[in-house]
Symmetry: C2
Subunit: 454 residues, 2 copies
């Protein structure tokens, strides 16, 4: 990575908006840009961190492309740690394209994905956990992911890892002292050291478990609407998302394949899934659809089981309901305007399963279901525990390596040199999470997942 280049990229999403931001970073950023401004002296003399109005022009001409505002940041007091400029221009594609073109013509290169953050890392402005957190903050879909990302962005994770390093180093010093002065072998310090390492092992094991839970909701809460055919599932789906996405019809078996849409509840992104109705059928296509319904129920964070008041309970359905009642499920007896099915209600009452009686054309019912979903989501949120040191797939994989070598060190505790070898190895892995600047391949892998302009 050639840090002597000055780089530029649009930092806001593509498309048309009121404003866009173009970021420039590099030693020569100020000089390069000044050719494109109507008042280069005003720009070069301007106070840093302060916003000023400028006319951005075609360099070498007096032709103004846009009236922009500009902020200068002097190294090392910038995001990348280099001289940086942020240009706030009108958010039209022609404007953004033309400004980038002029910057390129003035000797500024296009930035690669994540190059700003990568430079921040290489210039010591942030460690790798924080760099990864930047990406996680941008990509988070719900409060849980947001909180994990923000905590890593705040450096919480790095501070813990630094502590771990210190503790492991202390243990290593103990062990190495023991190796050198074997006669002074002190059983008490040995135990303390071993306990420390066992503590770390316990924390990693715990983190991996916590991480498993979090992965279940990563990318959005999955809410699956399921139940027998023709119970009103697609109607519920459409009502929730607010428009006629799923085809509805009085014919049972109308929905053949699952359909999903994004839905937002208190800011959280939810993947709402409508599935094919479950029933005995000889039709192969429908059967395949039902298999996929069952798969979706298996992956759901919350299942909404919709059954119709005007149909009898099958043995199969009773089994499904009992299975689901142990999981995070909401039960609706729908179409209560058509029929009062005491049987169905009785089953739920006998089993002690709470059930909503609904008629899905009523707004009140949708409101109640939404509130119920919200309280279920809050319940899931409250069961989530935040890992101490793991907040990404990459970190999870390294954490497993740390776990392995720490276990090895414990298993070889009696053979001090071998234990020390493994503890040293664990330090290397921790360094890897925090980030080594010379590992080009790892850095490429991390930063190519970023967006341009970050």
């Amino acid at each position: 990575m050639d840090l002597s280049r000055t780089i530029a990229a649009v930092a806001t999403p593509t498309g048309t908006g009121a404003l866009a931001i173009i970021r420039i970073s590099g030693k020569m950023a100020f000089e390069n840009i000044s050719h494109c401004l109507f008042s280069p002296e005003k720009f070069l003399k301007a106070e840093t961190g302060k916003i000023f109005l400028h006319k951005f022009k075609k360099s070498g001409t007096e032709q103004v492309i846009d009236e922009v505002t500009v902020i200068k940041y002097r190294e090392p007091y910038s995001y990348t740690g280099e001289n940086m400029v942020e240009i706030f221009c009108h958010g039209g594609p022609y404007i953004v394209r033309s400004i980038i073109r002029e910057l390129n013509a003035s000797g500024i290169d296009g930035a690669q994905k994540g190059e700003f953050t990568r430079r921040a890392f290489l210039n010591g402005k942030m460690d790798l956990t924080k760099a990864e957190a930047v990406k996680s903050v941008i990509e988070c879909k719900n409060e849980i992911e947001n909180r994990i990302a923000i905590s890593a962005l705040d450096g919480e994770q790095r501070r813990r890892l630094e502590n771990w390093k210190e503790e492991i180093i202390k243990v290593l010093i103990q062990i190495e002292t023991e190796i050198e002065f074997e006669e002074d072998h002190d059983v008490i310090t040995e135990k303390t050291g071993k306990t420390k390492i066992l503590d770390l092992i316990a924390i990693i094991k715990d983190d991996l478990k916590k991480r498993g839970k979090i992965k279940e909701i990563e990318g959005g809460f999955r809410i699956v609407i399921a139940g027998p055919a023709n119970a009103g599932k697609s109607t519920l789906f459409n009502q929730m998302i607010g428009y006629q996405r799923a085809l509805t019809h009085k014919e049972p078996g109308t929905t053949r394949d699952w359909i999903s849409e994004k839905w937002y509840l208190e800011g959280n992104e939810i993947i709402l899934i409508d599935t094919a109705g479950i029933r005995e059928t000889d039709n192969e296509v429908e059967r395949a659809g039902i298999d996929r319904s069952l798969q979706e129920i298996g992956r759901a964070n919350i299942t909404i089981w919709v059954t119709s008041a005007d149909e009898e309970l099958s043995t199969e359905e009773i089994k499904s309901i009992k299975d689901l009642s142990d999981k995070n499920s909401i039960f609706l007896i729908n179409k209560t305007d058509l029929n009062k099915n005491e049987n169905k209600e009785n089953l739920f009452n006998t089993e002690g399963i709470p059930v909503y009686k609904t008629s899905l054309t009523r707004d009140k019912d949708i409101q109640n279901i939404t509130e119920e979903i919200n309280s279920r989501i809050n319940r899931i949120k409250n069961t989530i525990e935040f890992p101490d040191i793991i907040s990404s797939v990459r970190q999870e994989s390294i954490a497993r390596d740390i776990l392995d070598v720490l276990i090895e060190s414990i298993e070889n505790w009696g053979r001090a040199e071998i234990a020390a070898h493994y503890l040293n190895k664990s330090l290397e892995y921790i360094e890897e999470i925090i980030g080594k600047k010379d590992n080009e391949e790892v850095l490429n892998r991390i930063f190519e997942g970023f967006c341009i302009g970050k």
Copy 2:
């Protein structure tokens, strides 16, 4: 429009990017936002126009949603002329949504389309020509539209209109003096006044003509690829846009309907159109496609006529070529690798029409054609003249009204009172272009075409 509300909106395009901007405007902007920041005092005391790092949190909690930078602007030194804040947050949809949610919870309303600019207008920060220019800058697609919009944004248009007003008022004063002191009737000043008005009439007529030319390229230059069937038109189209968009086949008549793609040349947006090959056919679908090809040629700013070296010239084609040679057209004899058709070349030579001999698999040919297109576009650009006072459809329509009343005033020049009536009317129309604050309906129409956040 209730100016006492504090409003907020995301100002950058929707989607995922490195950064997003959220704008807030209104009397209570500072106080309202401070509840969402970790260090409200630091924020409230901060210097205006300077960027500071803040933690944006869920109000009433300590839960950080994002690390953001914030700029405060104190009225009247802001875009809207009100207290304003710009929040630069990470550009993820969850982050943007959550910040807007918290702002709403803190008593800030969602902004309507164009409400920031509308407030700027209502607070006297800009006239209506400038407000409209903001929209034009965002929407411009090429250098011409950009230059017109920037000139209006710079206030050029308003200054001219103010001059017009002054001149018309001077003429009116003359006329009214004449009405009062009819005996002092001064033929010389009468002539001067009339000449002034005639000058303005000439300018408007000229503007309307210029406007007609500009409309031809509004929304992007239209380049149409046309010619006989199986000449390689779709191959050229695909080569230009850089991927296989159009189906190509050695079978003549492969392209049945026109296809268009955006293409960019030196920053200008071009609508590149591939059309059905023109030939005698009994097939109705193909015939309909050919009719549409002819329509597209009619609307083109530049036509590229592609003909094949291995086919003879039909009388029809000779006619098409002669017709097009008067317009902005580029001619290619393609497939010269297959055949050297002296006949075709001779026709072009005899008629003195420049022609490219190409084999469209060669990069060099594409490069030459691109350069030729670029020089044609520059030629179009150079013929464009910029109107003095008209830069939008709304203004064009009012300009026609001004023209009408000025002509009426001239026609009634002898009857001073009537002439004065029409001149007064023209002043009202000019006021309408610059913008009257009490015309809710006109303002609604203008600002509802804006994006949210502008």
